[in-house]
Subunit: 409 residues, 2 copies
């Protein structure tokens, strides 16, 4: 049995007939190189958005099952077109819907999870020498209802297939050619990483990069190497894979790997809250019920039995968040509830960073030297995040990129 390679093409990579033909050429090249190829495709360009608009023109509240039925057609279209394009250049290819490919999910319409995969239909087609094109982003429940995996779900489809078929690697083709040390629009000398660990990628993905976090988690768990590369071709991409040998591990250890940022951050602070059990729950439970997604949470002691509780939300959610927070403010005994909607955040990311002394100190001094005041600090195993004034975000990113010498290979 030939080695299996899974290639995933995002919406922009199959955005029109010309791009589909170009992607088909790449698939054919890989196939002619001797690999058994499974292709996962997203819907063309803005097809999904157009289907959502169509649903909203019919009803203000589309039924989730029916919305999945509708949205799943976007991937079926690009799937069939890709198979046609491959046959046009002499390759045996066959398209499969999520259902036909044996991708079984739970019934959480719009954000279903893959709970099983019967590799038999895909294996049979591969064994017959065919290239198999699978519609990404979709599956089918036990009751034969069509489901979608939610935005970015095609990444998850690709990694799940790669894992189940024990693929050599999962190649993800998109409109960016890899993972960078920072956003090149902000940092002109940002450098493309040849390789990055899954956890590091997870932190970068959370802050705006293009792989869906669920797919990275799955790749880490099932040890699937992912190559993110440009569908335009010509340049090497970034390999997302955890180190497997000590040499590989040395290569990336104890280093800051990249700088990420976010704009449009708002902060709410409850001042002088009595420091007693149940306060956090009293605040965050109603926020969750109001569907407000809370990002960073920091609690600062401000006196002996009083504490300041701050958290950030997306600026768009501030109004809803404030409404809820002011309501509970009194009941938890806070003296004041204040907000600031002009913030951003910058983070440095790198596995093993916590074992490298002085990383945090270097971050804070670099920001100070750049005249950037730090409003809040949070840290995780592989990330340090500072909340700063939004107008200072670009300067902060550039200062950190320089301080950690990320432009140097």
């Amino acid at each position: 049995m030939a080695a299996v390679v899974v290639q995933k093409y995002g919406g922009t990579s199959v955005g029109d007939a010309e791009k589909i033909r170009r992607a088909a050429e790449r698939v054919a090249t890989t196939r002619r190189g001797g690999a058994a190829v499974v292709v996962v495709v997203s819907a063309m360009g803005d097809a999904t958005d157009r289907l959502i608009e169509l649903a909203e023109s019919v009803t203000a509240a589309p039924d989730p099952r029916e919305l999945d039925m509708l949205l799943s057609t976007g991937e079926l279209v690009s799937c069939a077109l890709m198979a046609m394009a491959l046959r046009d250049i002499g390759e045996e290819a066959v398209s499969m819907s999520g259902a036909q490919a044996g991708i079984r999910t739970d019934a959480a319409h719009g954000r279903a999870s893959i709970i099983g995969f019967d590799p038999a239909p895909v294996r049979r087609a591969l064994d017959a020498g065919r290239i198999v094109i699978v519609a990404g982003f979709q599956g089918v429940t036990e009751d034969s209802d069509v489901t979608t995996l939610g935005r970015g779900g095609s990444d998850t489809t690709a990694v799940a297939l790669a894992a189940a078929l024990e693929a050599e690697r999962c190649e993800v083709y998109t409109d960016v050619d890899g993972i960078y040390t920072a956003d090149p629009r902000v940092v002109p000398d940002a450098r493309k990483l040849a390789r990055i660990g899954c956890e590091e990628m997870l932190e970068l993905a959370s802050y705006g990069a293009k792989m869906h976090p669920r797919s990275i988690e799955l790749a880490a768990w099932r040890n699937v190497p992912i190559l993110v590369a440009s569908s335009a071709g010509g340049v090497p991409g970034t390999l997302i894979h955890d180190a497997e040998t000590e040499a590989e591990s040395m290569e990336v250890a104890n280093k800051v790997r990249g700088v990420t940022y976010e704009r449009g951050v708002a902060r709410i602070t409850l001042r002088a809250v009595p420091d007693r059990p149940g306060v956090a729950a009293a605040v965050f439970q109603p926020l969750a019920e109001a569907n407000v997604s809370v990002d960073t949470i920091v609690q600062n002691a401000s006196g002996e039995r009083l504490t300041d509780l701050s958290f950030t939300v997306a600026r768009a959610d501030l109004r809803a968040a404030l409404e809820v927070t002011r309501r509970v403010s009194e009941s938890v005994g806070a003296q004041q509830c204040v907000s600031n909607d002009g913030l951003g955040q910058v983070s440095i990311v790198g596995a093993g960073m916590q074992n490298a002394p002085g990383v945090a100190a270097l971050m804070f001094s670099a920001l100070a030297d750049a005249g950037v005041n730090i409003e809040m600090i949070t840290t995780s195993q592989i990330r340090i995040t500072c909340i700063v004034d939004e107008p200072k975000v670009d300067a902060a990113v550039r200062a950190l990129h320089a301080a950690f010498e990320l432009a140097d290979d």
Copy 2:
């Protein structure tokens, strides 16, 4: 178990969000009247044409299996939207693809035939009080490949479901409000028929009316009454059903029911062909191989052992037909091969017409009175067709409509 009603909505009846909502209102009204309702939908407006264009932008010769995968999405979209629209007005509705609805076909992609239907999934949903929306025009093979039934296939889906579910009737909503005694654009006082037999409808359908012939054949065989009506509502349609009682039979017997016509007819005549076995086969076999569809065939004796063989084809096929016919002309010993590409045809249709003396004579004299020369004549059990000069078609249709008093109820 409540009586089952199948309602089919054509592409123009689900052409946009507004029309889908209007169709949903009608479905809901039928459901609230106590019937169990199965809805069959076509793709929205020109969606199928746009998908074909998309395929042709990717490859000059789309693979038939993949084209079916692609085209089937058109009906899935309107299917899901219809279910959403019904839920929006408080009805329990569920959409089903051909595969989900248990519609099994052979593997003749692009023109598949329904070979089986497992009513269990639809029945289960109906028993649960739901309206079931089934994607028309599609099914699935034994190997789970998606197929399409070819143009007009949604009619067949609707009638097949009505037959298998023993529906009370199959209602077909379209942009015309029924079957007329003649084309109202040609004959201003053409009258809508309240009722027509299946065979009569079959002849009318062959000459340009809107129901797919396969669906009428199926309806005749399985005794499914079809009501053709306008999706705009407000006026009664035409019931297509064979007479079941003597009274019903009397009502329609021995009457000419309608006049149909066609333009763009071309005729080829092989003159003075030796009248011996195998001549017709020698001519029509190569035509079939060249994919030329032959319509009317007439053989006129012109001498003792010589005959004239004439046949008609669509004008667009004349060039290909002539090429083939000239090639075989010599080998069958014809003296001459001539053609005329400026013809049309008019037909009168009516079951039991053959038992009504004088119908043919009245037709010919009406045409003569109108100054229409008859080029060829053919007859079937329920139809008499005359080939005439194309510029005389309108006058011929009007003359026949008047002669047989079709404007009178």
